[in-house]
Symmetry: C2
Subunit: 423 residues, 2 copies
Amino acid sequence: MADTDPAAEPAALIAAISTAARVAAGVLARLPSEARRAGLRAAAAASRDAAPAILAANAEDMARGTAAGLTPALLDRLRLDAARLAGVADSVEAVAALPDPVGEAIDTRTRPNGLVLSRVRVPIGVIGIVYESRPNVTVDAAALCVMSGNAVILRGGSEAVASNRALHAAFADGLAAAGLPRDAAQLVPTTDRAAVGAMLTAAGLIDLIVPRGGKSLVARVQAEARVPVLAHLDGINHVYVDASAGFDMARSIVLDAKMRRTGICGAMETLLIDRRWPHAAPLVEALAARGCEVRGDEAIRAALPGVAAASAEDWDTEYLDAVASVAVVDGVDGALAHIAAHGSHHTDAIVAGDEVVAERFLAEVDSAIVLWNASTQFADGGEFGLGAEIGIATGRLHARGPVALEGLTTYKWLGRGTGQVRG
Amino acid sequence: MADTDPAAEPAALIAAISTAARVAAGVLARLPSEARRAGLRAAAAASRDAAPAILAANAEDMARGTAAGLTPALLDRLRLDAARLAGVADSVEAVAALPDPVGEAIDTRTRPNGLVLSRVRVPIGVIGIVYESRPNVTVDAAALCVMSGNAVILRGGSEAVASNRALHAAFADGLAAAGLPRDAAQLVPTTDRAAVGAMLTAAGLIDLIVPRGGKSLVARVQAEARVPVLAHLDGINHVYVDASAGFDMARSIVLDAKMRRTGICGAMETLLIDRRWPHAAPLVEALAARGCEVRGDEAIRAALPGVAAASAEDWDTEYLDAVASVAVVDGVDGALAHIAAHGSHHTDAIVAGDEVVAERFLAEVDSAIVLWNASTQFADGGEFGLGAEIGIATGRLHARGPVALEGLTTYKWLGRGTGQVRG
């Protein structure tokens, strides 16, 4: 940690932390892969060694959270135990074993004048992570940033302050033990909300902000940030079942997309069914039988009078729960129009036997991830073979979809000549 | 042009234009390359056909500019003649002949479960161009945006309003004649400065802003924008001459980097000379003999007492003129420290015979473009083999260095399965 005073004015505090981070980023960017990997392995080991202190700190947070009346779901997110802590250390080691994007040449070209140009991946620089409740983010995010050669500034929520401090101390101790700069991973030493505002407006000091948490946190970050943000606000994901779909595959994909885990951003929220498809009723019944509350449009309710009516708001709602809105649409055109009107550019899928229809859906849906005959729950960096992800982005610039190590890099152009001038 | 009322409140005007642009962008994104190419060829032809009207409009602007006392340099930038107009049409045809990045698969991977994933380049969407004086930007920028499948919103300066309208009308006529949506290229129908503010804050409506013009315009855009911006503010570019450099190559590169064209962003502004290099005096004399005003540090003035003294501000100044600051540094470490303190992350070069030193410079200078034994004036999309550029970006995200067609695209993930679920 830089020599920072938690009581300093927030902008001055963040400026001091960012300046120390920039220096550390310069050191990290010059280290070979193996040094960054060794630093992460040492950080994982330090986390294991510090388990008693981390669990004691977490018990403090849990006691304070219980007294403050946090919901059982929030308390569960906050809670660490020996198994979860071992998982955190394991995941740092997994990141240390990922392919390193830094230094990779994206393309190399020799110009007619002999100048050899290549684009080479380099770290972005200084990355700010703003997160809530789940203390493992302290370590998961730091590991991804350090592996990709970036310095990270961590700002967790007040409910996990003791856990985050203990996790961060162990992580930074591990980096330092391996000879990496301690300031490569700093924790903002105050839970003053103004410190978040100072991070979001630290243009030129912080290069990128990644929010991790609920919708209100992401919305605040997107609204206030003057620094680029990688995030998604909503995952209003659709599965469209085309007339050419078989019933068994449609049922299997729809049930998985909605019900495998209902609280993740890749879960289906709206099911669109081609009017010509004859199996709408049994598909909706299968969803209901799995415990999903269905809210249907008029056509669905005509076929299944017991289904509740979807309101206008339902089509724009991310339930993150065992609830689905279901509409009948006129073929792929109807599906495309519905998704263009109500989607959130996250993940949408088509179930279809007709390749021409499927390829049109793939081409025309304007989402970060578009799938044919697969569940939307594949929206995940690990499932994509990218390794751990720092998040999923629905913006249109820099990185889209799962953001993993490569998304935490940029590039620079290197030119090697023999005296070339433009003349 | 959408059915927009120039007298509308600026935010409403920009919202109406952006909404029409979004619709056009959807159409453009679905057109095959050949249709976009044909649209641009038709736009070039329409520009040629409309030459008399465009030149008459430009004469209006020139008369108004002359009456308003614009400088000769600004009047020259504003001026169109038959040759310049032919060049504008030719450049549209050149863009129409460039390789099309849209639809290109960046990587394709088959997951162990059989899901085939690929990242495919797609247009960004709606791009705003905010520019000054040089009316050819109307057409150059529109051509690059349309070729990359994006709709463009053009907002030129008041001094070129008649020229921009005539150029835009011909371009849009050409697109429409080829069956492309006219709203693919819209010109903001007011020179009210508040319209620029409305563009810069149109997050969600406009996906990217590219400013083209002087430093005050770029600074305003960077300060006010809530929409991502691709730009560079300064090009404070360095050439470092290492002890291992030969005199002839150093002289040739330094003279070209500084004096070939002094007003472009890739020009050298500061020359750094290794203290151990024995030819500092003749190199500085060669610059002066070519007509460059030299401002030296103490070591340079000790060797060449006639040289003016550089002030502290000189090291942070982009002259864009026949002026150079010159400092003696202690080897590559001194050069790296100077560039880290004073550079603008644009383009920096080393002249060196020692490959180890050169590779260290390439690795450690944190600029969009870093060159070894080549002139900084190669900082140009055309020279990089990318075709025409929309600008050079010194930010760290999305695209860095010359931004051409590929930099105007993003990607989405497409997944093709056979019924895969996560289960």
